[in-house]
Symmetry: C2
Subunit: 121 residues, 2 copies
């Protein structure tokens, strides 16, 4: 592993910074969560949109393409008419769910404190 791939946030190519750039976008973490909790694990586009209230088709499409390019989500097309497209988390995507869930737990436990701090000013 080269030094630039190690843990210094000082590097502009720092892996943590780059990871946060991805999961920090508005719909990514929600999509990962919804897919992680899906049973069966494959979910179609329209069903995903239904489970992610507020997301537009465009943003869902952008989000899923990005996740697919990153190898976190796999995409399977049934060449029917009309087409059916199924999405599911890859193993890599499921492994990301672990630290992401930790972050969710922290958020649920502590965001109220943050709100209080802001209210206090």
């Amino acid at each position: 592993m080269t030094p630039s791939l190690r843990g210094d946030l000082f590097d502009p190519a720092c892996p943590t910074r780059r990871l946060l750039d991805r999961i920090g976008t508005k719909w990514t973490s929600m999509a990962v969560k919804v897919l992680a909790e899906a049973d069966p694990r494959e979910v179609r586009f329209a069903e995903l949109q239904r489970r992610m209230p507020g997301v537009s088709k465009k943003m869902l499409s952008v989000t899923l393409r990005s996740l697919t390019n990153d190898g976190l989500v796999s995409r399977r097309v049934e060449p029917t008419v009309p087409p059916k497209v199924h999405y599911r988390l890859t193993d890599l995507g499921r492994s990301l769910e672990v630290p992401l869930a930790a972050l969710r737990n922290w958020a649920e436990e502590h965001m109220a404190e943050i709100d209080r701090a802001n209210a206090a000013d």
Copy 2:
């Protein structure tokens, strides 16, 4: 705890979404990490800037103010001329370091896979 504060990412006020909005900004996680690893724990503005290569004074200022308002960082001013301003993580801030470190570990282990997925296309 009201339903809107629970774990549904569907709520626009979802705590996870709001947490990610914060730590997803460019310099926040770096600042938390640098402060978490600081010894002694208090660090002055200019020293922080030195330990965060690339950050401008403006963005460091904005980042620290936001962290301070959130109660994650405390700020102590020595009313000398010129003034000295010291920053340190609060207990809340240190608790956030735990899931954040988990995310860093994941990034260091797996970002290379993501890069490979993108290269493969």
